[in-house]
Symmetry: C2
Subunit: 555 residues, 2 copies
């Protein structure tokens, strides 16, 4: 019996949508050789991570074992798959493999961190394979919503794993390769041990729709518009950008791309030749001279991002162009849960300008990039694996996906971030729980999600902040009264007297009566003053403020 | 020609969904007698109002004219229509009129602020009318999602206004009066000047569905459940609570109500007799002894509220009851935009417990309480008014609703909070812009939305807080170095030295070199120290922190 084992360990993306980061290992227990599949980010929100710029998986487990790590494979160029590669390449220091378009984007990210183009190796599609340690890895083209998306076929002596990456079943995806059932069946012929499979749309009951269904609807919509048309979608959804641009062209409009990400993505698509044809575009300078009824802008900001083109247009001008009454703004996109407020706010700002906002209520102007439930079931059938491991989903998605597999008689398991699963047997077996979590990029520094910094910010935001200053003289006696400063708190409360004065009075009384032993002990003074300040704010304004106490002792 | 005018002035609810508050006036310009229709609240969120407990309309315009105010009329007992009545009754001091169920809820709210039951007058339905000043107001029963919802017929010498309140067209609403087309037509016979009409669902294209469609679906769902069933909906949706309870009873389950709001609403419904029959309920104590497969809980928290029953069950026990593998949790509700994160988080917590979560993806287990687009059009037809004023909607809803009216040849206008509209002519005319806004209930105090308190909280949450303390001696010379304290900021940055030390070094250098004139000027010191601290944090950690400077001068 072999002592080698084949393992799967998600560090991100399992138990959440976004921040994809999956480890595979093969070899003797605890000495496995490892590869990393995807290294993505997720995005902060005000509720849980105010002030944070980006969220990364915690790679401590992996960096502790970096001598076991062979390589990093990136399935496609979405931020939640490639976004962290620049931030962690320095710590991991192994080759990065990707197909041309993804490699182009990855190199741009690495160069921002000072790494050269040679750090990323461009790989052709299956049947080409990368041999590294005990792994043979090939990129199997699959339809999604960004060019050159790939599933990975990971072959080891312990069995073959098929990692779908993000995918949908689209036989006419406009940009990139169509879903190729024959290819899947061909790969499946030699037996698949584990299908590690996208779960995003497992709750969507009807079969997914093709990108090619949108062109006609969009053309009709744009033809019916009387003045300027502006459309937004994910910049990385190059197929949609093309669908929109072509529909606009057929409707007799000049196309202009606005927003950095939009221009960069189209640029990368042209550089790597994945785009095929694309309508001629006019520069922003030239766009200003095009009659509004002949102009269509394609802009960033489909999720309501404050700094993107759509939000700027909603607030006023962007690049010298302004929305006006009778213009149309189209969201050719779905709002990701959590982004509703930002998107709705933009819709209302446009409404105030008299702009007609069109969204995807009816499914006419957007299709998803992920496999729906029947498509997931079809993927299971095509690949006919020994076991199905659901990935890329919140817990509820993974659980539903595992049920779907099990109902069809396949072994499955719900494995969230940090659960190491052994794939060697006939069914998945959780063999270890790894400590994982999230790291925050905060300005230019990385902080831990649980180290208290963000918790303190949330507390200040909820409760306001009282700063108490006390000066003690050379003899340890209070010099004057304590001072208070407020931030984020009302000036007066119940007693109608200024809150600062009520606080200073209460704190001063305590200090005036404090025993010598107390006054010698900074920790004790701080603790008592905090307690009093919290009680006073509760009395006065009905909430316990956060309190910082600063004690200065004159030497 | 008459010099009297009929005016409409929304102070809340127009340009937003929630916080309903509408003024009507009749009389000579600027001397109109006034009535207030609804006095509701809206709810805070972390993005825009962290730490805030409730949001009220700013009633300054009205309190400045309270000698012109005749009365307050409450259309129904939803929080966004009645929630602020207790908070403002003291300032307005005029009679409150409502139908029995609404009056019951309003009295509970007023009593929390120390006002007696006599403050609210119970009114019977149309044709009874309240005569107050130049107004004759009657409560016209209408179907919605809470008992005794009413439209208001407001009759003046300047014309009759029909204010729909929240409504839907439901001919079998389970609880409360069915929508009565004949009654609407009868009222319309004498001519309606203005229909002021609910806009919430103007983007929902198909006709609304009846509450009575749900019972069968729910019964089948509950019968198929193998272990405990827990269902949540808005507590105030008494019809749904009844539909759920009856479906549970038919499926052979004992019903238990959990959560304060749920029990209070059913209590008020029983006290006022609006409920008709209701299945027998078991107490929470008894529920613990009922076999799980025979038990159904109806709980609060359909919007993911952290303190409600559903969130507590998701985190662990509530009232000694715990969810277990194989139980079912049903959201018989729609998630209000902005609440997605909280709801999804609960769904995933249940998923981790092995609980099957059912939501309303398919419309099987929930119907809306508002009129959809075809129902709104039907309301226009039935009432056949001279003009339509859309209310209760964000700007985009109001605009769409006005278009709908205009397409059918009716005069209309988009009027948001603060826009005073004269209804006296043949079409609506905006005659004045009133300064309005929001007030926040923050703990026990009211603060203004724009007075900077919440802005400071958001800044601390985004940027962290640096507190700088400087002591100056009797001669105005710095006594030692400045001190820094951090809250919500990383301990180290770019230079790897403690951020506090880098700050103290930079600030100390400035103080050491500062001229005497600067040191005499607290404002100047503060300004310079803040500038330096912000620059240093930007250098070190890539973000400009919020800075408070505390200067202590020894006398």
């Amino acid at each position: 019996m072999s002592t080698e084992r084949l393992i799967y360990l998600p560090l991100g993306g399992a138990g959440e949508i976004g921040m994809n980061c999956y480890v595979y290992g093969y070899g003797p227990k605890d000495k496995e050789r490892l590869i990393l599949v995807d290294l993505g980010v997720t995005f902060p929100d005000m509720d849980t991570s105010p002030g944070v710029d980006l969220i990364f998986p915690d790679l401590t487990w992996l960096t502790d074992r970096k001598d076991q790590l062979e390589a990093i494979f990136i399935t496609h160029a979405h931020e939640d798959h490639v976004g962290a590669v620049g931030h962690f390449f320095g710590q991991l220091g192994v080759p990065v493999y990707a197909r041309a378009f993804t490699a182009n984007i990855a190199r741009r990210k690495l160069s921002e961190h000072g790494f050269g183009d040679e750090t990323v190796t461009t790989v052709s599609a299956y049947p080409e394979r990368v041999e590294t340690g005990p792994f043979k890895v090939s990129f199997v083209p699959v339809s999604h919503s960004i060019p050159e998306s790939s599933s990975l076929l990971i072959e080891t002596a312990g069995g073959r794993v098929f990692h779908t990456g993000d995918f949908k079943i689209d036989h006419d995806p406009i940009v990139g390769e169509a879903f190729d059932e024959a290819l899947w069946q061909d790969i499946a012929k030699d037996g698949i041990k584990a299908l590690v499979c996208d779960s995003t749309n497992v709750f969507s009951k009807s079969a997914g729709r093709s990108e090619s269904e949108l062109g006609g609807n969009l053309e009709a919509l744009i033809k019916g518009a009387e003045r300027m048309v502006v459309a937004t979608t994910f910049a990385s959804n190059v197929a949609r950008v093309k669908t929109l641009a072509e529909a606009g062209e057929r409707a007799g409009r000049s196309i202009c791309l606005m927003g950095r990400a939009m221009r960069r993505m189209v640029e990368a698509s042209i550089e790597t030749g994945v785009l095929g044809s694309f309508p001629p575009v006019v520069s922003i300078d030239d766009a200003r001279d095009v009659p509004r009824e002949n102009l269509m802008l394609l802009v960033t900001g489909s999720q309501g991002e404050r700094r993107a083109a759509s939000a700027q247009l909603a607030r006023g001008k962007f690049n010298g162009i302004e929305m006006k009454e009778g213009d149309m703004f189209l969201f050719s996109s779905k709002t990701i849960p959590g982004n509703e407020r930002g998107v709705i706010s933009i819709m209302n700002q446009f409404s105030e300008m008299g702009v007609d906002v069109v969204d995807d209520n009816d499914g006419l102007y957007h299709v998803s990039g992920h496999a729906n439930r029947p498509d997931i079931a079809k993927a299971h059938e095509l690949m006919d694996p020994q076991m199905v491991i659901p990935m890329h989903g919140e817990h509820r998605h993974l659980r539903e996906h595992a049920k779907l597999a099990e109902e069809a008689g396949r072994a499955s398991a719900v494995a969230v971030n940090g659960m190491m699963v052994e794939l060697s047997g006939n069914k998945p077996k959780v063999v270890e729980y790894i400590e994982t979590g999230r790291r925050y990029l905060d300005g230019s520094t990385q902080i831990g999600a649980l180290d208290g910094i963000v918790r303190d910010r949330i507390r200040m935001a909820l409760n306001g902040h009282v700063i108490v200053t006390v000066i003690l003289d050379e003899d340890g006696e209070p010099l004057g009264e304590p001072w208070c400063e407020l931030m984020g708190l009302p000036e007066t409360g119940r007693s109608k007297a200024p809150l600062v004065e009520v606080l200073e009075e209460d704190l001063g009384q305590f200090l005036g009566r404090a025993k010598e032993a107390t006054l010698k002990d900074d920790g004790k003074i701080e603790q008592e003053l905090r307690k009093i300040a919290r009680r006073t704010t509760l009395d006065e304004i009905g909430k316990k403020a956060e309190v910082s106490v600063i004690i200065s002792r004159l030497a």
